[in-house]
């Protein structure tokens, strides 16, 4: 059974239709890249998949391990195994980094009928994973994302992913706002979590990230539809030639 199946998905926000029939199948162990020009619907896709309020699905379905997600709220989908690494992670004043992580992990455990984490053990675990991502201790004591640089925010997203062990991870323009070094660290963090059990959707505008997180499949999204699918070389193609030709060909076809 496929891990994530997106079937003929149509979605709109308010009165504006954005997704016009997306079809995509992601199996465990696969990394799919979704590229596209601005306004193609990339972020909308990530929000619709994760269940954000304000988006209406007018047609189609989303299945996670064969189960439809349409009736599930955002937190239910999260506990079912979906993770979204935000493009613009929001600030939570006064909410300590460690406390937040604990709350998220405990929510998952409670759902599975297990006990909450042992405090000390958890702190050790978090510190270990944080070190791998170059996240210092004092950053964990600060309020979530408050005053964090772009790179710090993205690293904190990947730390959360490492602790929550999702089955499907959607990375929404994880490279935006990152310099060369930050990009490397974040990519390493993501790659270290690749495995035969997890599926990933990497959304990006530029090819650069995909040299570090090498995808199995590349899809080009334009005007709410996938107009072309290929392997990693498609990304290089886009970098060389841009989106325009591809879009024109799609229209002609």
């Amino acid at each position: 059974m496929a891990l994530l199946e997106i079937k003929n998905l149509h979605a709109r926000i308010g009165d504006t239709d954005i997704l016009h029939g997306i079809n995509l199948t992601i199996n465990r162990g696969e990394v799919h890249a979704i590229m596209g020009p601005n306004g193609s619907g990339k972020s909308t896709l990530s929000y619709v998949l994760s269940g954000r309020n304000g988006y209406e699905i007018t047609e189609g379905d989303i299945l996670l391990d064969g189960e439809s997600l349409l009736e599930m709220e955002a937190d239910e989908r999260a506990r079912a195994g979906m993770f979204l690494a935000f493009q613009y992670p929001v600030e939570l004043p006064g909410v300590g980094g460690m406390a937040f992580l604990r709350a998220a992990v405990n929510a998952r455990l409670r759902e599975q009928g297990e006990d909450e984490v042992d405090q000390l053990g958890f702190v050790k675990l978090v510190r270990a994973k944080a070190t791998e991502l170059g996240i210092k201790d004092d950053m964990l004591k600060r309020a979530v994302n408050v005053g964090f640089s772009g790179g710090e925010k993205k690293r904190y997203e990947i730390l959360q992913m490492a602790l929550l062990n999702p089955s499907i991870a959607i990375l929404d323009e994880t490279d935006s706002g990152l310099d060369v070094d930050a990009l490397k660290i974040v990519s390493e963090g993501v790659n270290s979590q690749r495995g035969p059990e997890i599926g990933m959707v990497v959304i990006t505008h530029y090819q650069r990230l995909l040299s570090h997180i090498v995808p199995d499949f590349v899809h080009i999204l334009s005007a709410g539809k996938i107009i072309k699918t290929g392997d990693k070389s498609l990304a290089l193609d886009v970098e060389e030639n841009g989106y325009t030709d591809l879009m024109e060909n799609a229209n002609v076809a």
Binding site: G51, V90, L92, P93, G94, V95, A103, A104, R108
Partner: protein, 483 residues
Amino acid sequence: MVATTETIAAVEDATGSYKYGFVTDIETEKAPKGLNEDVIRFISAKKDEPEWMLEWRLKAYRYWQKMPTPNWAKLNIAPIDYQDIYFYAAPKSAEGPKSLDEVDPELLRTYEKLGIPLNEQKMLAGVAVDAVFDSVSVATTFREELSKVGVIFCPISEAIREYPDLVRRYMGSVVPVSDNYFSALNCAVFTDGSFVYIPKGVRCPMELSTYFRINEQNTGQFERTLIIAEDSSYVSYLEGCTAPQRDENQLHAAVVELVTMDDAEIKYSTVQNWYPGDETGKGGIYNFVTKRGACRGDRSKISWTQVETGSAITWKYPSCVLSGKDSVGEFYSVAVTNGAQQADTGTKMIHLGQGSRSTIISKGISAGKSQNTYRGLVEMNKGAEGARNFTQCDSLLVGDQCGAHTVPYIVSRNPSAKIEHEATTSRISEDQLFYCLQRGMTEEDAVSLIVNGFCKEVMKELPMEFAVEAQKLIGISLEGSVG
């Protein structure tokens, strides 16, 4: 809260001997409804008070009769009929519930959430408790330990009889009879409260909690508390309880007076969750409290920390008069309103002494259709050379049906005194909620997490046990307010 269970048990046990002066034939004598000089004489007689105390009460009563009812706050108060209130020992309503099965399931749900053990639940819900408890008298052991260091902690009625000099010297010196309408009323009819005295140089060995002091059910309405800290002493006092407390009596008008001498410190923490009434506010408690601290000594300090949820109407302004040189006043508050509640709360920092400092951190959270107002006064008088104040008032609005208001009064009569005041308004944004939801937290958890983050600066001033309970309490009082 294991300690609490033991305490309640001990309290039950010690009831007979502790309630000195309350004999069993009390059941047959009750003051009738209403207020007049006879009722006051009755109360004074029941308490076996000396003549001077009765005179004090009567003087206050006569003063009160001449005062106009206050109505300046942004509150909608239906006029209170003082002749329709029992001022002494309201009768128990019919009989209490026979078991937890008869208790309002909403109330039980809240107890569960707060992690209150079953026996304690019974006690709080008014179910008659069998004497199955451990007979270790925690209260008695406790009193022994305190008396070893000379700390006095007893009901105020006992103090009036046993320590009249101390009481006469200090009672009414911080909140005079004439101060306001409800404090005058309190002076006339108060029936219970705490008296605490910490001698020179003593650091009170434990946190004093009102659990340890007997409360006759249904007379907690007009409490009067007096805490005196002599030179270089310290005490931390906890008031209140997180479990929602219903009460027969709607009107609560307490007076709390604190006095600190040179280098002394009093830390007064309150977690209050009075019954807020139904969604329209009907049947809720009216909580009008006058709390004031006099930092008389040099380098003395008084901190007020409060978490207020509950009450249909809250009207309280814990204040500090900073007379001593380099004295310090602090006010940390979280006030949550939901449903149809109204809160008008804040503080007054009156700077008189050179070098005096005050810090005010107020966090107001409004949800539902409630109205939450911060009202504060910072006054720098001529003698307050080099004094400092810092005030931060933040309001968090949950939903678009409620209101959050800030009304600070700033008066400065000394150029070397510095005042800094800041107020902000915000809400829990959709983005913040979604971020937490996407991490698997339920909406309830998310709101609780974000709100507690908002209140963090205040919460860390609370003594540990209170802080944990208070956090849960805030989460519960905001239930159903989002989405």
